[in-house]
């Protein structure tokens, strides 16, 4: 009887197989568990149990045993979100977010129809609307110069303009690098390899210090615009290499079939090659967007105050909020915001990849 009884896998079996299979494994498990418990306990204690939740300035947090100084965040939330954008005009920033979400959310949900119109709205209508809204200077909307832009708002502006501008740059450079025409090819290779060989910091230095020298003396450029040019060119070169990978993965037969049908170069690339190539490299494209999003924080080096820049400035130069835990609280907050955006993007890319691969699995 006992022999015929099937052994059923229990939780104990799982634990034995996955956590305590050998002596070394058991030791590893115990050490890891202890580390997790310690970190969890310290983290919770810092963020909740010992944390300070009320207070009008740093004096409330200035106790030796205090944990996180949350009022630093709640009091400065407006500054962290919009920088020095004037308070009575903040609704314009919020409205711009709404306009962006109205286009982005339906575009990202696979079931909603009308993708073409949504993309057109996001690429053509939204940038104009959004720019007029936040920059102002038209009747009814007082102008807000870009020096006052800051915080998460500036981060999102730099990241989204960088993404939108680097995409066509990347496609053109990738096509140029694969071109049969020697001058086009060598110009693309030269640009791509030059930009990829130097750090973003030097590109930003170049666009902020050298660009004004390159232009005719009477032409002046907004500081933000200079940073945007640097970011877009930098990330365009990286994107070009990702897209080139996709172009190389398309079988030669596709190119030849397009030629045989009598399609022109633009038709061949636009209708046959690029749609397949871009689909192949979606993970790579999203990865470059994630690094672009993280890299926006570098604009603080040339004196623009994005989310990290403004948190860092509040930590280092606001004497009112000086306390031992101010810095940690600010960094945890900024890190959490950046992490949410980047992690969200990477999850969405994984989802998209699975969905697009569904067609190939049949």
């Amino acid at each position: 009887m006992a022999i015929r009884q099937r052994h059923r896998a229990t939780a104990a079996d799982w634990i034995r197989a996955n956590l305590f299979s050998t002596r070394g494994n058991a030791a590893l498990t115990l050490v890891s568990l202890a580390a997790i418990a310690l970190v969890l306990w310290k983290g919770l204690d810092w963020a909740l149990f010992s944390a300070v939740f009320g207070g009008r300035d740093g004096s409330a947090c200035n106790k030796p045993e205090a944990g996180a100084c949350w009022p630093f965040i709640t009091h400065k939330l407006g500054l962290f979100m919009c920088g020095r954008y004037p308070l009575p005009e903040r609704w314009r920033v919020d409205l711009t977010y709404m306009l962006a979400l109205a286009g982005l959310v339906p575009l990202m949900l696979p079931r909603v129809p009308g993708k073409l119109w949504l993309s057109l709205y996001l690429i053509v209508a939204f940038p104009i609307l959004g720019f007029v809204l936040v920059r102002g200077g038209v009747p009814g909307l007082p102008g807000v110069p870009t020096e006052l832009w800051g915080g998460l708002f500036l981060t999102l502006v730099v990241a989204s303009v960088g993404i939108a501008a680097s995409f066509p740059i990347g496609i053109l450079l990738a096509l140029g690098r694969r071109s049969q025409l020697p001058i086009v090819r060598w110009a693309s290779i030269g640009f791509i390899e030059f930009v990829r060989g130097v750090p973003l910091v030097t590109v930003l230095f170049m666009s902020s210090v050298m660009l004004p020298l390159f232009l005719p003396p009477d032409v002046t450029f907004d500081k933000l615009l200079r940073a945007l040019i640097g970011v877009a060119l930098f990330s365009g070169a990286y994107l070009a290499e990702v897209i080139r990978g996709g172009l190389q993965a398309i079988p030669r037969g596709q190119y030849e079939a397009a030629d045989a049908l009598g399609l022109s170069y633009a038709q061949k690339m636009g209708f046959i090659v690029l749609p397949q190539a871009l689909k192949l490299v979606i993970p790579g494209i999203v990865n470059s967007f994630i690094s672009l999003f993280k890299d926006t924080s570098l604009v603080l080096i040339i004196g623009l105050f994005d989310l990290l820049g403004i948190v860092q400035q509040s930590i280092s130069s606001d004497a009112k909020w000086f306390s031992p835990q101010t810095a940690a609280t600010g960094y945890v907050f900024a890190g959490a915001v950046f992490w949410l955006f980047c992690f969200g993007m990477s999850r969405y890319s994984a989802f998209l990849e699975r969905r697009l691969a569904a067609g190939d699995r049949r």
Binding site: N18, L19, S21, N25, L28, T29, S32, L33, A35, I36, Q180, L181, P182, I183, V184, A187, F194, R196, G197, V198, P199, L200, V201, T202, F205, M206, V209, M210, P212, L213, F214, L215, P216, P217, Y265, I290, K294, D295, S297, L298, L300, I301, L308, Q312, I315, S316, P324, A327, A328, Y331, A334, G335, F338, W339, C342, F343, S346
Partner: protein, 397 residues
């Protein structure tokens, strides 16, 4: 009717050249070339005019002028009375130092975490995944601030420094004892080291040839390491240990003597290491997963032990997948070391494109030199790794 048709056909024919891809390509190239030339001409003339208007100097003569600023960490002798050129060398060496150390440490940590993600131990795998997902989704600059402001600047003052054996940690950095050689024996150690290196190479070659001929193995790696480390030590012993240890002593306000590692350097090194390791871990994981299961099973069927399967079969094959993206990470780390400017570590960018640029105002020359250095480093690394990659590549008949 026919005549009309023939005429219109002829009209189309006469436009044929416009539809010829070759002609179109030629036109496009000429236009591009012209545009580039005009752009270059505009940039040069505008820059010259702007410089003249602002009364700015040009040329590379400034490299010989006196720098008159101090640098906190110098690998070669440097004083503020030395030239800008010397300051450039100091910054460059600092960049190379932090990059080289960061590459070594990030590789070890990255391999450990990457193997951890593939571990059979559930908790270790989850912990490694959490590490990767947290670290690579937060900007490096923020992590540098956390290390610098949050960890190293939060250390106690020198009077209350933490003692870790002979080392002391305080807000000014880590103070270590320093070994000072008596007299002029440094060159003997270098010779001993070179001898050890050469001997180890010869030994490795001999062991390999013998294994191919007879199948007998020899622990060449361990013996080689012993030779490389052992010969200089032996030389020291034979010379009668002419070594003094200079311990850091707490002075009135600060530690004096010994070797002090600046907190800026430590913060940059830690930030670069932990950040890049997360990316290397992903590369290692995908490289190992790319080795077909049959290879492991075949190796096990031949009677290899699990660690032999990894060392002799899986890792050598995965290296072919790992090396190209790993090279990219090494280059990224080197370029990312330029973020030093944000926390005040005197690397190339912060010394040269920061202080020197502000003092001389020669933006064009300074930025061009800085970019040229990074380009050269990138090119050299890429060449070296291509050579290594070619050696590792699958030899196909």
């Amino acid at each position: 009717m026919t005549l009309k048709l023939a005429k219109s056909v002829q009209a189309v024919r006469s436009l044929d050249w416009l539809y010829d891809p070759k002609t179109r390509g030629l036109i496009l190239q000429v236009v591009l070339l012209l545009a580039l030339v005009i752009l270059g001409y505009e940039i040069v003339t505008n820059t010259a005019e702007n410089l003249r208007k602002q009364n700015l100097a040009s040329g590379f003569g400034f490299l010989g002028k006196t720098a008159s600023f101090d640098i906190s960490q110098t690998l070669v002798e440097y004083r503020s009375t030395m030239s800008y050129g010397r300051a450039f060398v100091v910054g460059l060496l600092n960049t190379l130092l932090v990059s080289a150390l960061g590459i070594v440490l990030a590789t070890f940590l990255g391999f450990a975490v990457g193997l951890g993600r593939l571990s059979h131990n559930w908790i270790v795998a989850r912990l490694s995944t959490a590490y990767v997902e947290i670290v690579r989704n937060v900007p490096l600059l923020l992590q540098l601030f956390v290390w610098y402001v949050g960890v190293l600047r939060a250390m106690p003052m020198p009077q209350q420094s933490l003692a870790l054996g002979p080392a002391h940690v305080d807000v000014r950095g880590v103070h270590l004892p320093r070994f000072v050689l008596e007299g002029d024996v440094g060159w003997i150690l270098v010779v001993a080291l070179l001898c050890g290196l050469a001997w180890a190479l010869v030994l490795a070659r001999w062991a390999r040839r013998r294994q191919i001929a007879t199948g007998e193995t020899f622990p060449a790696a361990a013996a080689g390491l012993a030779l490389i480390a052992g010969l200089p030590l032996l030389a020291l012993l034979l010379l009668g240990l002419p070594v003094n240890i200079d311990y850091p002593q707490l002075g009135l306000y600060n530690f004096e003597g010994g070797l002090t590692i600046e907190p800026e350097f430590l913060a940059l090194l830690a930030g670069l290491t932990f950040y890049t390791a997360a990316f290397i871990a992903e590369i290692v994981r995908s490289g190992i997963e790319a080795v077909p299961r049959g290879q492991k099973e075949a190796a096990a069927a031949l009677g290899l032990r699990p660690w032999q399967v990894q060392r002799l079969v899986v890792i050598p094959q995965s290296l072919r997948v790992i090396i190209p993206p790993l090279t990219n990470q090494y280059l990224n780390l080197t370029k990312n070391s330029s973020l030093a400017v944000a926390i005040g570590y005197p690397d190339l960018v912060s010394v040269f494109a920061g202080t020197v640029l502000n003092q001389t105002n020669q933006a064009v020359e300074v930025i061009l030199i800085t970019m040229g250095v990074y380009l050269a480093i990138s090119l050299a690394t890429a060449l070296a790794m291509n050579w290594f990659n070619a050696r590792m590549a699958l030899v196909e008949r």
